[in-house]
């Protein structure tokens, strides 16, 4: 006797059950038919002997020759038996990096965050073991930028620090679990990995890490289930069949219940250079430092590397000088300034011609004198990314 059989043709409950099963089987599965599903088939032959009445015979895997009196093929009746098998447990997974970019960090940063996605492409709910590894020095950068840089340092304390469901359903995550619980077929989880960056790490350093996920048995608990192994296949049992592709750092490659991807930390501490110069113009047109002579101050600011956010330049006026009202101007030579910085309103790209600014505090030009701080020039540059170069100019008279 095989599956899906109703032994009498009038057993309504049984037939209803079969009908429900048939309806359910119409559902389409993106990840495929669930493991354990019985796929069955029953053929029917009708024929006559010498033009006599039609006879019906239904199939069986070993061969059936009994005449089916009611002409309806039902497994178990008149020698008919379904030809069937069970769909096996396809183990398939895909690990991808959260974006296609390096993760920019600064030296000494703790718990620098990067993310990966783990997708269950199989047809069964599985647990997934996770492991983070530092790759060897010299490993080529897998991501777009900076293309010329290879791995030259390791982050420390690299660990999975959070797992959240992105699509579908997964089991309970307990803080610092290094595995995903009960990730259903077609579901994907976002795995957060954190590493600490050494304090003295030089700018331009690159550390490549990998996240490897290994499919495990869903053990119906919040612990990591046991290993999955391929076994000798039979028609009526559900065996594990590996179907995964090769990841970046798999132990063996394709069909090993394992998949992996890489990400990289790129050290890019902002390097800001500020240079201030002064020139004097006396009433006679010379450069003698004397009362009523006008001093022109120039502050050159440049960012050679990295990103500075909320950049503010302040310069207190020297003693025995008086600020010359509305004498501030700014020249933007290179770079892009976000957040309505002093080089313009909103995001602008240099070069921009020298622009005069007013002294009023909290007006639209992001520049003031004696407003934010007493007797001090304040310039808000906002968020800037290297390379950046701009020059602040203002004037004062000697008392």
């Amino acid at each position: 006797m095989r599956f899906l059989s109703c032994h009498t043709h009038t057993n309504r409950a049984c037939w209803l059950g079969l009908w429900v099963l048939l309806i359910a089987s119409q559902t389409s599965w993106a990840a495929g038919t669930p493991a354990g599903t019985v796929i069955s088939n029953l053929a029917k032959a009708s024929y006559d002997i010498g033009g006599g009445p039609q006879i019906v015979t239904c199939s069986s895997p070993a061969g059936n020759s009994a005449a089916d009196d009611d002409g309806v093929c039902v497994t178990g009746a008149f020698g008919a038996l379904n030809t069937d098998f069970r769909v096996d447990n396809k183990v398939d997974l895909l690990v991808t990096e959260g974006n296609t970019l390096v993760t920019t960090v600064v030296a000494g940063q703790t718990a620098a965050v990067t993310t990966f996605s783990v997708l269950n492409e199989g047809n069964t709910t599985q647990d997934f073991a996770l492991s983070v590894a530092n790759l060897a020095t010299g490993t080529a950068n897998p991501l777009a930028l900076p293309a010329a840089t290879n791995d030259n340092f390791d982050g420390t304390g690299c660990t999975v620090s959070n797992i959240v469901i992105a699509v579908g359903t997964m089991g309970t995550y307990t803080a610092l679990d290094q595995h995903i619980n009960a990730l259903q077929a077609d579901s994907s989880a976002t795995v957060t990995v954190t590493c600490n960056i050494p304090a003295a790490q030089a700018n331009g350093s690159l550390a490549i890490i990998s996240l490897t996920a290994t499919a495990r048995t869903d053990n119906a608990a919040n612990t990591l289930g046991g290993a999955v192994t391929e076994a000798v296949n039979t028609e009526d049992n559900v065996e594990v069949v590996f179907g995964d592709s090769a990841g970046s750092d798999d132990t063996t490659g394709v069909r090993d219940a394992e998949h992996s991807a890489r990400d990289a930390y790129y050290v890019q501490t902002a390097t800001l250079t500020v240079t201030k110069t002064a020139s004097v113009l006396d009433p006679q047109g010379g450069s003698v430092v004397m009362p009523t002579a006008v001093i022109t101050y120039q502050i050159a600011v440049s960012l050679g590397a990295g990103t500075a956010t909320g950049l503010v330049m302040t310069d207190p006026l020297p003693a025995n000088t008086t600020y010359l009202a509305n004498s501030i101007s700014i020249t933007c030579n290179a770079g892009t300034y976000a957040g309505g910085g002093a080089c313009g309103i909103g995001t602008i790209a240099a070069p921009q011609p020298a622009a005069a600014k007013t002294d009023t505090n909290l007006d639209a030009d992001f520049v003031d004198f004696n407003g934010t701080t007493a007797n001090t020039i304040t310039v808000l540059l906002g968020d800037v990314s290297a390379p950046v170069n701009f020059v602040i100019t203002f004037k004062a008279t000697i008392n």
Partner: protein, 166 residues
Amino acid sequence: MRIVNLLLTTTLFALLGSLSSGAQAADQGAIKLTSIAQTEVEVVAKGGKKTLKRTPAEKVVPGTEVIYTTTFENIIDKPVGHIVIDNPIPNDSEYKAGSAFGKNCEILFSVDGGKTFGHAEELKVKGNDGKSRNALPREYTNIRWTYKGQLAAKKSGEVGFRATVK
């Protein structure tokens, strides 16, 4: 699983008593109908020559192509006529275009669960826009083979198709 079903069947037979045993005491027909499900695996011989070997459908996951073969054998000593074989596309499976075979048979398909049959190009289904369109092979629900002429005594024929597990 088969063992469990066997036990269940035995129990049901006991419960159903005479009704069940009466239904099972069937007359012998003239055709022995055998259906098998197989998969193909690539076998590389010593010289590197690759051949496809058929095995029972043991290793089947979504995407696997399964070959269903039905053999009909005339087991009496007289010819048998008007042989029609009907076979539904199995659950959770999609018929593979052009895969139905059957020597000396007319092959028709159904897209309505076997109520009506037609040649592949005649089959229509209602599309999402409500308009009738040609049916896709994966939408077939049943296949019917009509054997031309009579099947002589002790002779047999073979029909079948391929379907991919969804």
